[in-house]
């Protein structure tokens, strides 16, 4: 019984950790949206900055990945 409740808590926590995805989505959307609005104003400078955009996306996404990591830990390690 007690183990079941712990298991339930872990599963609920893992599900709640998925809300972190929303934060990552906002972050990545913000990066790309701002890149695009800048790129449309000055298209000649946009080509050189795509790499920077991808690095920015990767860093914004990293924090969403940590929520996935927390979910994994709750599912399999706790």
């Amino acid at each position: 019984m007690e183990g079941d409740i712990v298991q339930m808590g872990a599963y609920i926590g893992a599900g709640l950790a998925c809300t972190g995805m929303g934060g990552a989505a906002v972050g990545v959307g913000h990066v790309v949206g701002n890149f695009l609005s800048g790129a449309l104003r000055n298209p000649s400078a946009a080509g050189g900055q795509t790499a920077t955009m991808f690095i920015g996306i990767a860093f914004a996404e990293a924090l969403g990945i940590f929520s996935f990591l927390v979910a994994l830990l709750l599912m399999f390690a706790v």
């Binding site: 790499a51 991808f54 690095i55 990767a58 996404e61 990293a62 990945i65 940590f66 996935f68 990591l69």
Partner: protein, 248 residues
């Protein structure tokens, strides 16, 4: 055969990631050839086919295969030069190897009934740890103790520096974690989504919709496969740049 596979009403979307021994049996030792071994071997084989056989002719006017190989080479070379700088070009072969391996592993994983080696954290963690360790060792070899200045940001006001140093140290050691899980998570989630829609295809009412969704998501996955390999390689370049020039 085909009807038998599609008729499987209940299959778990995560079943595709199970590591199985290639020649039967249940026990997996470190030397057991598994489906991971097979698909890694195929990855290496196809990279060799593209890069070695494709450029064998060394034609001035390249054939189709040769121009793909040249395109890949030029793409990665420019990326290393742009992000890591001129003195990062020395480490170009390593980044080229990483990029080609990941891009081919991802693309081969998109073939139906195949196995995605990069969807396993064990695979990507080894690659990310290799990058992390080699970059850290490189930094200490090139700069000695002054490599630690990477964490001591001299541009910031003095009272802020200890706090920033703490944040920098944490973010430095979190690098291999995010580096590996980003790739594995993206590959795993994307392929699982395709399989979830594939399971819906067995229900007659929504089957056309589900086939359409699979097509759309498959196209998205092709894009994601390439972008994740690109992101892995470009982050390696960023880490390399930090090791080459630790002074902010």
């Amino acid at each position: 055969m085909a009807t038998e596979e599609e008729g499987g009403l209940v299959f778990h979307p995560m079943d595709q990631f199970i590591v199985k021994p290639l020649f039967g049996g249940d026990v997996i030792h470190w030397y057991t050839p598994t489906n991971v071994t097979l698909w890694m071997f195929l990855t290496v084989l196809s990279i060799s086919a593209l890069l070695v056989l494709g450029t064998r002719g060394r034609a001035v006017v390249p054939t189709r295969v040769q121009s793909v190989a040249e395109l890949a080479y030029g793409f990665v070379y420019k990326m290393v030069e742009d992000v890591a700088g001129k003195d990062g070009v020395k480490y170009f072969p390593y980044i080229m190897t990483l990029f080609m391996f990941i891009v081919f592993a991802n693309f081969l994983g998109l073939i139906p009934m195949s196995f995605t080696t990069t969807s396993h954290i064990a695979v990507t963690a080894v690659m990310a740890m290799a990058v992390f360790l080699s970059v850290t060792i490189l930094g200490f070899v090139l700069h000695g103790v002054s490599f630690l200045k990477l964490f001591w940001i001299s541009a910031a006001p003095l009272p802020l520096r200890p706090i920033l140093a703490l944040i920098e140290v944490i973010s430095y050691f979190v690098r291999p974690v995010s580096h590996s899980i980003r790739l594995a998570g993206n590959m795993m989630a994307g392929h699982a989504v395709i399989k979830v829609f594939a399971a819906f295809a067995a229900v007659a009412v929504i089957s056309p919709l589900s086939v359409l969704a699979i097509t759309a998501i498959y196209a998205l996955e092709v894009l994601v496969s390439f972008i994740q390999a690109y992101v892995f390689a470009i982050l390696t370049c960023v880490y390399l740049k930090d090791a080459l020039h630790p002074h902010h």
